[in-house]
Symmetry: C2
Subunit: 242 residues, 2 copies
Protein backbone atom coordinates (compact mmCIF):
# COMPACT_ATOMS: atom_id res chain seq x y z
CA UNK A 1 0.00 0.00 0.00
CA UNK A 2 1.17 3.49 -0.83
CA UNK A 3 1.64 6.05 1.90
CA UNK A 4 -1.07 8.67 2.25
CA UNK A 5 -1.36 12.41 2.73
CA UNK A 6 -4.72 13.52 4.14
CA UNK A 7 -6.17 16.92 3.30
CA UNK A 8 -8.47 17.97 6.16
CA UNK A 9 -10.33 21.25 6.01
CA UNK A 10 -13.35 23.24 4.83
CA UNK A 11 -14.57 24.12 1.32
CA UNK A 12 -11.12 25.32 0.25
CA UNK A 13 -10.04 21.73 0.84
CA UNK A 14 -13.24 20.06 -0.42
CA UNK A 15 -12.96 22.00 -3.70
CA UNK A 16 -9.25 21.33 -4.10
CA UNK A 17 -9.74 18.80 -6.92
CA UNK A 18 -11.43 21.18 -9.36
CA UNK A 19 -10.11 24.10 -11.42
CA UNK A 20 -6.51 22.87 -11.26
CA UNK A 21 -7.00 22.71 -7.50
CA UNK A 22 -4.14 22.37 -5.05
CA UNK A 23 -5.29 18.88 -4.00
CA UNK A 24 -5.41 17.60 -7.58
CA UNK A 25 -1.99 19.16 -8.21
CA UNK A 26 -0.61 17.34 -5.17
CA UNK A 27 -2.15 14.07 -6.38
CA UNK A 28 -0.55 14.61 -9.79
CA UNK A 29 2.80 15.62 -8.31
CA UNK A 30 2.85 12.45 -6.17
CA UNK A 31 1.09 10.29 -8.77
CA UNK A 32 3.48 7.35 -8.42
CA UNK A 33 4.41 7.72 -4.75
CA UNK A 34 1.59 8.89 -2.46
CA UNK A 35 -2.21 8.69 -2.27
CA UNK A 36 -3.62 12.14 -1.61
CA UNK A 37 -6.86 11.62 0.30
CA UNK A 38 -9.54 14.30 0.38
CA UNK A 39 -11.30 15.03 3.65
CA UNK A 40 -12.77 18.47 2.99
CA UNK A 41 -16.06 19.53 4.56
CA UNK A 42 -17.58 22.64 3.01
CA UNK A 43 -18.78 25.26 5.51
CA UNK A 44 -17.22 23.57 8.53
CA UNK A 45 -15.44 25.49 11.26
CA UNK A 46 -13.07 24.03 13.89
CA UNK A 47 -15.94 23.48 16.36
CA UNK A 48 -17.74 21.19 13.93
CA UNK A 49 -14.46 19.64 12.79
CA UNK A 50 -13.69 18.68 16.36
CA UNK A 51 -17.12 17.04 16.69
CA UNK A 52 -16.46 14.77 13.72
CA UNK A 53 -12.71 14.20 14.02
CA UNK A 54 -12.97 10.63 15.32
CA UNK A 55 -15.45 9.71 12.62
CA UNK A 56 -13.30 11.17 9.84
CA UNK A 57 -10.15 9.50 11.16
CA UNK A 58 -11.23 6.39 13.07
CA UNK A 59 -8.66 4.71 15.28
CA UNK A 60 -8.50 1.67 12.95
CA UNK A 61 -6.77 3.92 10.44
CA UNK A 62 -3.82 4.26 12.79
CA UNK A 63 -1.54 1.38 13.60
CA UNK A 64 -0.68 -1.42 11.25
CA UNK A 65 -3.04 -3.36 8.98
CA UNK A 66 -3.08 -7.10 8.44
CA UNK A 67 -0.72 -6.69 5.52
CA UNK A 68 1.83 -5.28 7.97
CA UNK A 69 1.59 -1.82 6.45
CA UNK A 70 1.70 1.26 8.59
CA UNK A 71 -1.67 2.96 8.16
CA UNK A 72 -0.54 6.29 9.55
CA UNK A 73 -0.27 8.93 6.83
CA UNK A 74 2.97 10.67 5.93
CA UNK A 75 1.26 13.97 6.58
CA UNK A 76 -2.04 15.71 7.16
CA UNK A 77 -2.90 19.27 6.20
CA UNK A 78 -5.22 21.13 8.58
CA UNK A 79 -6.84 24.07 6.83
CA UNK A 80 -9.59 25.74 8.89
CA UNK A 81 -10.39 29.26 9.96
CA UNK A 82 -12.16 30.86 7.00
CA UNK A 83 -15.53 29.92 8.52
CA UNK A 84 -14.56 30.45 12.17
CA UNK A 85 -13.70 34.02 11.12
CA UNK A 86 -17.25 34.81 9.95
CA UNK A 87 -18.31 37.89 11.92
CA UNK A 88 -20.68 37.17 14.85
CA UNK A 89 -23.17 39.88 13.83
CA UNK A 90 -23.50 39.16 10.12
CA UNK A 91 -25.37 36.50 8.13
CA UNK A 92 -22.61 33.92 8.58
CA UNK A 93 -22.82 34.20 12.40
CA UNK A 94 -23.78 30.53 12.86
CA UNK A 95 -20.37 29.56 11.45
CA UNK A 96 -18.48 31.99 13.71
CA UNK A 97 -16.18 30.56 16.39
CA UNK A 98 -14.58 32.98 18.86
CA UNK A 99 -10.85 33.48 18.44
CA UNK A 100 -9.83 31.87 21.73
CA UNK A 101 -11.98 28.80 20.99
CA UNK A 102 -10.54 28.57 17.45
CA UNK A 103 -7.06 28.45 18.97
CA UNK A 104 -8.11 25.83 21.49
CA UNK A 105 -9.84 23.75 18.81
CA UNK A 106 -6.77 23.82 16.57
CA UNK A 107 -4.68 22.69 19.55
CA UNK A 108 -7.12 19.82 20.11
CA UNK A 109 -6.99 18.81 16.45
CA UNK A 110 -3.18 18.78 16.47
CA UNK A 111 -3.20 16.76 19.73
CA UNK A 112 -5.60 14.24 18.23
CA UNK A 113 -3.34 13.64 15.22
CA UNK A 114 -0.23 13.54 17.42
CA UNK A 115 -1.80 10.84 19.58
CA UNK A 116 -3.24 8.85 16.68
CA UNK A 117 -0.21 9.11 14.41
CA UNK A 118 2.90 10.09 16.41
CA UNK A 119 5.18 10.01 13.38
CA UNK A 120 2.97 11.85 10.86
CA UNK A 121 3.69 15.43 9.89
CA UNK A 122 0.95 17.94 10.66
CA UNK A 123 0.85 21.02 8.46
CA UNK A 124 -1.38 23.94 9.47
CA UNK A 125 -2.63 26.39 6.84
CA UNK A 126 -4.05 29.79 7.80
CA UNK A 127 -7.24 31.09 6.20
CA UNK A 128 -6.65 33.12 3.03
CA UNK A 129 -7.17 36.89 2.98
CA UNK A 130 -10.68 38.19 2.30
CA UNK A 131 -11.61 40.56 -0.53
CA UNK A 132 -14.59 42.33 1.06
CA UNK A 133 -15.82 43.96 -2.17
CA UNK A 134 -16.05 40.53 -3.78
CA UNK A 135 -17.78 39.11 -0.70
CA UNK A 136 -20.50 41.77 -1.13
CA UNK A 137 -20.76 40.99 -4.84
CA UNK A 138 -21.11 37.20 -4.33
CA UNK A 139 -23.08 36.69 -1.10
CA UNK A 140 -23.71 33.07 -0.03
CA UNK A 141 -27.21 33.87 1.28
CA UNK A 142 -29.60 36.81 1.77
CA UNK A 143 -27.64 39.79 3.03
CA UNK A 144 -30.15 42.46 4.06
CA UNK A 145 -27.49 44.31 6.08
CA UNK A 146 -25.47 44.90 2.92
CA UNK A 147 -22.28 44.30 4.89
CA UNK A 148 -19.63 41.61 4.21
CA UNK A 149 -20.00 38.52 6.43
CA UNK A 150 -16.21 38.17 6.55
CA UNK A 151 -13.52 40.89 6.72
CA UNK A 152 -9.85 40.73 5.89
CA UNK A 153 -8.96 42.12 9.31
CA UNK A 154 -10.83 39.33 11.11
CA UNK A 155 -9.31 36.67 8.81
CA UNK A 156 -5.90 38.13 9.72
CA UNK A 157 -6.56 37.65 13.43
CA UNK A 158 -7.46 33.99 12.86
CA UNK A 159 -4.40 33.58 10.64
CA UNK A 160 -2.15 34.96 13.40
CA UNK A 161 -3.78 32.62 15.94
CA UNK A 162 -3.20 29.67 13.61
CA UNK A 163 0.47 30.64 13.36
CA UNK A 164 0.65 30.93 17.15
CA UNK A 165 -0.80 27.41 17.56
CA UNK A 166 1.74 26.05 15.07
CA UNK A 167 4.56 27.66 17.06
CA UNK A 168 3.20 26.40 20.36
CA UNK A 169 2.89 22.87 18.97
CA UNK A 170 6.13 22.97 16.99
CA UNK A 171 4.49 22.14 13.66
CA UNK A 172 4.94 23.88 10.31
CA UNK A 173 2.41 26.44 9.10
CA UNK A 174 1.64 28.15 5.81
CA UNK A 175 0.78 31.80 6.39
CA UNK A 176 -1.51 32.00 3.40
CA UNK A 177 -3.09 35.24 4.61
CA UNK A 178 0.24 37.09 4.39
CA UNK A 179 1.66 35.16 1.43
CA UNK A 180 -1.24 36.00 -0.85
CA UNK A 181 -1.24 39.68 0.07
CA UNK A 182 2.33 39.98 -1.23
CA UNK A 183 0.70 40.13 -4.69
CA UNK A 184 -0.65 43.66 -5.32
CA UNK A 185 -3.77 42.37 -7.08
CA UNK A 186 -4.33 39.44 -4.69
CA UNK A 187 -8.12 39.90 -4.48
CA UNK A 188 -8.66 39.25 -8.18
CA UNK A 189 -5.58 37.17 -8.88
CA UNK A 190 -6.04 34.57 -6.16
CA UNK A 191 -9.72 34.69 -5.11
CA UNK A 192 -12.78 34.08 -7.27
CA UNK A 193 -15.45 35.32 -4.84
CA UNK A 194 -13.36 37.07 -2.21
CA UNK A 195 -12.75 33.79 -0.32
CA UNK A 196 -12.36 30.74 -2.58
CA UNK A 197 -9.36 30.18 -4.81
CA UNK A 198 -8.76 30.86 -8.49
CA UNK A 199 -6.40 28.67 -10.51
CA UNK A 200 -3.54 31.02 -9.50
CA UNK A 201 -4.62 30.91 -5.87
CA UNK A 202 -4.65 27.12 -5.98
CA UNK A 203 -1.14 27.23 -7.45
CA UNK A 204 0.08 29.28 -4.48
CA UNK A 205 -1.31 26.75 -1.99
CA UNK A 206 0.12 23.81 -3.95
CA UNK A 207 3.59 25.35 -4.08
CA UNK A 208 3.55 26.27 -0.40
CA UNK A 209 2.47 22.76 0.60
CA UNK A 210 5.18 21.17 -1.56
CA UNK A 211 7.78 23.48 -0.02
CA UNK A 212 6.73 22.76 3.56
CA UNK A 213 6.63 19.01 2.94
CA UNK A 214 10.10 19.20 1.40
CA UNK A 215 11.34 21.01 4.53
CA UNK A 216 10.25 17.90 6.43
CA UNK A 217 12.04 15.56 4.03
CA UNK A 218 8.91 14.62 2.09
CA UNK A 219 9.79 15.16 -1.55
CA UNK A 220 9.38 13.12 -4.70
CA UNK A 221 13.11 12.39 -4.66
CA UNK A 222 12.96 10.98 -1.12
CA UNK A 223 10.07 8.61 -1.72
CA UNK A 224 9.99 5.12 -3.22
CA UNK A 225 8.30 5.00 -6.61
CA UNK A 226 5.45 2.52 -7.05
CA UNK A 227 6.79 0.14 -9.75
CA UNK A 228 9.39 0.86 -12.44
CA UNK A 229 9.16 4.21 -14.18
CA UNK A 230 8.87 4.09 -17.96
CA UNK A 231 12.21 5.91 -18.26
CA UNK A 232 13.86 3.09 -16.27
CA UNK A 233 12.53 0.27 -18.45
CA UNK A 234 15.10 -1.09 -20.91
CA UNK A 235 13.59 -0.99 -24.43
CA UNK A 236 15.77 -3.97 -25.36
CA UNK A 237 14.44 -6.13 -22.51
CA UNK A 238 11.40 -4.50 -20.92
CA UNK A 239 10.31 -7.52 -18.84
CA UNK A 240 13.60 -7.46 -16.95
CA UNK A 241 12.19 -4.46 -15.04
CA UNK A 242 9.34 -6.51 -13.55
Amino acid sequence: MRPKIYLFGDSITQDSFTQDGWGASLAHHFSRTVDVVLRGYSGYNTRWALKVLERVFPATQGGVDDGGTDRAPLAVTVFFGANDACLPDRYGAFQHVPLHEYKQNLHSIVSFFRKQWPKSHILLITPPPIDEDARLKYPYSDNPQGLPERTNEAAGEYARSCIAVAEECGVPVIDLWSKMQQCPDWGKEYLCDGLHLTRSGNRVVFEEVITKLKDKGLSLESMPVDLPLFADIDPKDPLKAF
Copy 2:
Protein backbone atom coordinates in the same frame (compact mmCIF):
# COMPACT_ATOMS: atom_id res chain seq x y z
CA MET B 1 -13.92 4.37 5.72
CA ARG B 2 -15.26 5.70 2.47
CA PRO B 3 -15.73 3.40 -0.50
CA LYS B 4 -13.11 3.58 -3.23
CA ILE B 5 -12.95 3.73 -6.99
CA TYR B 6 -9.60 2.65 -8.44
CA LEU B 7 -8.31 4.08 -11.71
CA PHE B 8 -5.96 1.52 -13.29
CA GLY B 9 -4.24 2.28 -16.55
CA ASP B 10 -1.36 3.89 -18.43
CA SER B 11 -0.30 7.54 -18.79
CA ILE B 12 -3.81 8.65 -19.68
CA THR B 13 -4.74 7.44 -16.19
CA GLN B 14 -1.52 8.55 -14.46
CA ASP B 15 -1.99 12.08 -15.82
CA SER B 16 -5.68 12.21 -14.97
CA PHE B 17 -5.20 14.61 -12.04
CA THR B 18 -3.68 17.47 -14.05
CA GLN B 19 -5.21 19.91 -16.55
CA ASP B 20 -8.74 19.40 -15.23
CA GLY B 21 -8.11 15.70 -15.70
CA TRP B 22 -10.86 13.10 -15.66
CA GLY B 23 -9.53 11.56 -12.42
CA ALA B 24 -9.49 14.89 -10.60
CA SER B 25 -12.99 15.62 -11.92
CA LEU B 26 -14.19 12.28 -10.57
CA ALA B 27 -12.56 13.00 -7.19
CA HIS B 28 -14.31 16.39 -7.13
CA HIS B 29 -17.63 14.95 -8.24
CA PHE B 30 -17.48 12.33 -5.47
CA SER B 31 -15.72 14.62 -2.98
CA ARG B 32 -17.97 13.71 -0.05
CA THR B 33 -18.78 10.12 -0.96
CA VAL B 34 -15.95 8.16 -2.58
CA ASP B 35 -12.14 8.10 -2.55
CA VAL B 36 -10.85 8.05 -6.11
CA VAL B 37 -7.52 6.21 -6.01
CA LEU B 38 -4.96 6.68 -8.77
CA ARG B 39 -3.10 3.65 -10.09
CA GLY B 40 -1.81 4.92 -13.42
CA TYR B 41 1.51 3.68 -14.85
CA SER B 42 2.82 5.76 -17.70
CA GLY B 43 4.02 3.78 -20.71
CA TYR B 44 2.64 0.45 -19.48
CA ASN B 45 0.88 -2.02 -21.76
CA THR B 46 -1.33 -4.93 -20.67
CA ARG B 47 1.63 -7.33 -20.62
CA TRP B 48 3.46 -5.24 -18.05
CA ALA B 49 0.21 -4.48 -16.21
CA LEU B 50 -0.40 -8.20 -15.80
CA LYS B 51 3.10 -8.64 -14.37
CA VAL B 52 2.43 -6.10 -11.61
CA LEU B 53 -1.29 -6.65 -10.98
CA GLU B 54 -0.85 -8.50 -7.68
CA ARG B 55 1.57 -5.88 -6.41
CA VAL B 56 -0.74 -2.99 -7.34
CA PHE B 57 -3.76 -4.68 -5.79
CA PRO B 58 -2.49 -7.04 -3.06
CA ALA B 59 -4.92 -9.58 -1.65
CA THR B 60 -5.04 -7.76 1.71
CA GLN B 61 -6.94 -5.00 -0.04
CA GLY B 62 -9.82 -7.38 -0.63
CA GLY B 63 -11.97 -8.73 2.16
CA VAL B 64 -12.83 -6.87 5.32
CA ASP B 65 -10.46 -4.83 7.50
CA ASP B 66 -10.33 -4.88 11.29
CA GLY B 67 -12.81 -2.02 11.40
CA GLY B 68 -15.32 -4.32 9.71
CA THR B 69 -15.25 -2.27 6.51
CA ASP B 70 -15.36 -3.94 3.14
CA ARG B 71 -12.08 -3.13 1.44
CA ALA B 72 -13.28 -4.02 -2.03
CA PRO B 73 -13.76 -0.93 -4.19
CA LEU B 74 -17.10 0.10 -5.65
CA ALA B 75 -15.49 0.05 -9.07
CA VAL B 76 -12.25 -0.08 -10.98
CA THR B 77 -11.57 1.46 -14.38
CA VAL B 78 -9.24 -0.49 -16.67
CA PHE B 79 -7.80 1.78 -19.35
CA PHE B 80 -5.06 0.12 -21.42
CA GLY B 81 -4.37 -0.33 -25.10
CA ALA B 82 -2.76 2.92 -26.26
CA ASN B 83 0.69 1.40 -25.69
CA ASP B 84 -0.17 -2.14 -26.77
CA ALA B 85 -1.20 -0.58 -30.10
CA CYS B 86 2.26 0.85 -30.81
CA LEU B 87 3.27 -0.56 -34.21
CA PRO B 88 5.77 -3.46 -34.06
CA ASP B 89 8.11 -1.91 -36.64
CA ARG B 90 8.34 1.66 -35.35
CA TYR B 91 10.26 3.27 -32.48
CA GLY B 92 7.60 2.29 -29.91
CA ALA B 93 7.93 -1.42 -30.81
CA PHE B 94 9.07 -2.42 -27.31
CA GLN B 95 5.64 -1.34 -25.99
CA HIS B 96 3.74 -3.26 -28.67
CA VAL B 97 1.59 -6.21 -27.62
CA PRO B 98 -0.01 -8.34 -30.37
CA LEU B 99 -3.77 -7.99 -30.64
CA HIS B 100 -4.60 -11.54 -29.55
CA GLU B 101 -2.35 -11.21 -26.49
CA TYR B 102 -3.91 -7.82 -25.65
CA LYS B 103 -7.33 -9.48 -25.64
CA GLN B 104 -6.09 -12.34 -23.50
CA ASN B 105 -4.37 -9.96 -21.08
CA LEU B 106 -7.53 -7.87 -20.68
CA HIS B 107 -9.45 -11.07 -19.97
CA SER B 108 -6.88 -11.99 -17.32
CA ILE B 109 -7.10 -8.54 -15.72
CA VAL B 110 -10.91 -8.73 -15.56
CA SER B 111 -10.71 -12.26 -14.10
CA PHE B 112 -8.25 -11.09 -11.46
CA PHE B 113 -10.58 -8.33 -10.30
CA ARG B 114 -13.61 -10.64 -10.45
CA LYS B 115 -11.85 -13.13 -8.18
CA GLN B 116 -10.44 -10.52 -5.81
CA TRP B 117 -13.57 -8.37 -5.59
CA PRO B 118 -16.62 -10.32 -6.77
CA LYS B 119 -19.02 -7.43 -6.12
CA SER B 120 -16.98 -4.57 -7.60
CA HIS B 121 -17.87 -3.06 -10.94
CA ILE B 122 -15.21 -3.31 -13.64
CA LEU B 123 -15.31 -0.64 -16.35
CA LEU B 124 -13.17 -1.07 -19.45
CA ILE B 125 -12.11 1.96 -21.49
CA THR B 126 -10.80 1.61 -25.05
CA PRO B 127 -7.73 3.53 -26.19
CA PRO B 128 -8.50 6.95 -27.67
CA PRO B 129 -8.15 7.63 -31.39
CA ILE B 130 -4.71 8.67 -32.68
CA ASP B 131 -3.98 11.87 -34.59
CA GLU B 132 -1.02 10.72 -36.69
CA ASP B 133 0.03 14.21 -37.82
CA ALA B 134 0.34 15.27 -34.20
CA ARG B 135 2.24 12.08 -33.34
CA LEU B 136 4.82 13.03 -35.98
CA LYS B 137 4.98 16.58 -34.64
CA TYR B 138 5.50 15.49 -31.00
CA PRO B 139 7.61 12.30 -31.09
CA TYR B 140 8.42 10.70 -27.72
CA SER B 141 11.93 9.68 -28.85
CA ASP B 142 14.21 9.77 -31.91
CA ASN B 143 12.19 8.93 -34.99
CA PRO B 144 14.64 8.44 -37.87
CA GLN B 145 11.96 6.63 -39.94
CA GLY B 146 9.81 9.75 -39.93
CA LEU B 147 6.71 7.58 -39.53
CA PRO B 148 4.16 7.70 -36.69
CA GLU B 149 4.74 5.04 -34.01
CA ARG B 150 0.97 4.71 -33.55
CA THR B 151 -1.82 4.86 -36.15
CA ASN B 152 -5.51 5.49 -35.74
CA GLU B 153 -6.33 2.31 -37.63
CA ALA B 154 -4.28 0.18 -35.23
CA ALA B 155 -5.79 1.95 -32.20
CA GLY B 156 -9.22 1.14 -33.64
CA GLU B 157 -8.39 -2.58 -33.80
CA TYR B 158 -7.38 -2.56 -30.13
CA ALA B 159 -10.50 -0.57 -29.27
CA ARG B 160 -12.70 -3.16 -30.98
CA SER B 161 -10.89 -5.96 -29.15
CA CYS B 162 -11.43 -4.17 -25.85
CA ILE B 163 -15.15 -3.93 -26.63
CA ALA B 164 -15.20 -7.63 -27.52
CA VAL B 165 -13.60 -8.54 -24.17
CA ALA B 166 -16.17 -6.39 -22.34
CA GLU B 167 -18.97 -8.22 -24.14
CA GLU B 168 -17.45 -11.62 -23.48
CA CYS B 169 -17.06 -10.80 -19.79
CA GLY B 170 -20.37 -8.97 -19.45
CA VAL B 171 -18.81 -5.75 -18.14
CA PRO B 172 -19.46 -2.19 -19.32
CA VAL B 173 -17.07 -0.48 -21.72
CA ILE B 174 -16.48 3.08 -22.91
CA ASP B 175 -15.76 3.12 -26.63
CA LEU B 176 -13.57 6.20 -26.42
CA TRP B 177 -12.10 5.60 -29.87
CA SER B 178 -15.51 5.96 -31.55
CA LYS B 179 -16.96 8.51 -29.13
CA MET B 180 -14.17 11.03 -29.68
CA GLN B 181 -14.29 10.69 -33.46
CA GLN B 182 -17.90 11.88 -33.42
CA CYS B 183 -16.41 15.38 -33.07
CA PRO B 184 -15.24 16.61 -36.51
CA ASP B 185 -12.12 18.29 -35.05
CA TRP B 186 -11.35 15.48 -32.56
CA GLY B 187 -7.59 15.50 -33.19
CA LYS B 188 -7.16 19.08 -31.98
CA GLU B 189 -10.17 19.30 -29.69
CA TYR B 190 -9.51 16.21 -27.58
CA LEU B 191 -5.80 15.37 -28.01
CA CYS B 192 -2.79 17.53 -27.15
CA ASP B 193 -0.09 15.44 -28.87
CA GLY B 194 -2.15 13.05 -30.93
CA LEU B 195 -2.55 10.63 -27.99
CA HIS B 196 -2.90 12.35 -24.59
CA LEU B 197 -5.96 14.34 -23.60
CA THR B 198 -6.72 18.05 -23.65
CA ARG B 199 -9.06 19.59 -21.08
CA SER B 200 -11.97 18.85 -23.46
CA GLY B 201 -10.76 15.30 -23.97
CA ASN B 202 -10.58 14.80 -20.21
CA ARG B 203 -14.13 16.13 -19.97
CA VAL B 204 -15.33 13.47 -22.43
CA VAL B 205 -13.76 10.66 -20.39
CA PHE B 206 -15.14 12.07 -17.12
CA GLU B 207 -18.67 12.31 -18.50
CA GLU B 208 -18.54 8.83 -20.00
CA VAL B 209 -17.28 7.31 -16.73
CA ILE B 210 -20.00 9.09 -14.72
CA THR B 211 -22.63 7.82 -17.17
CA LYS B 212 -21.41 4.22 -17.07
CA LEU B 213 -21.20 4.23 -13.26
CA LYS B 214 -24.72 5.63 -13.09
CA ASP B 215 -25.92 2.79 -15.33
CA LYS B 216 -24.63 0.46 -12.61
CA GLY B 217 -26.41 2.36 -9.84
CA LEU B 218 -23.32 4.27 -8.71
CA SER B 219 -24.36 7.90 -8.63
CA LEU B 220 -23.96 10.71 -6.12
CA GLU B 221 -27.66 10.39 -5.27
CA SER B 222 -27.32 6.69 -4.45
CA MET B 223 -24.36 7.01 -2.12
CA PRO B 224 -24.19 7.95 1.55
CA VAL B 225 -22.62 11.34 2.16
CA ASP B 226 -19.70 11.50 4.58
CA LEU B 227 -21.01 13.73 7.41
CA PRO B 228 -23.73 16.40 7.23
CA LEU B 229 -23.69 18.65 4.20
CA PHE B 230 -23.53 22.38 4.91
CA ALA B 231 -26.96 22.82 3.31
CA ASP B 232 -28.43 20.35 5.82
CA ILE B 233 -27.05 22.11 8.90
CA ASP B 234 -29.65 24.21 10.73
CA PRO B 235 -28.26 27.76 11.15
CA LYS B 236 -30.35 28.11 14.32
CA ASP B 237 -28.83 25.02 15.94
CA PRO B 238 -25.80 23.82 13.96
CA LEU B 239 -24.53 21.35 16.57
CA LYS B 240 -27.75 19.34 16.33
CA ALA B 241 -26.39 17.99 13.02
CA PHE B 242 -23.41 16.32 14.68
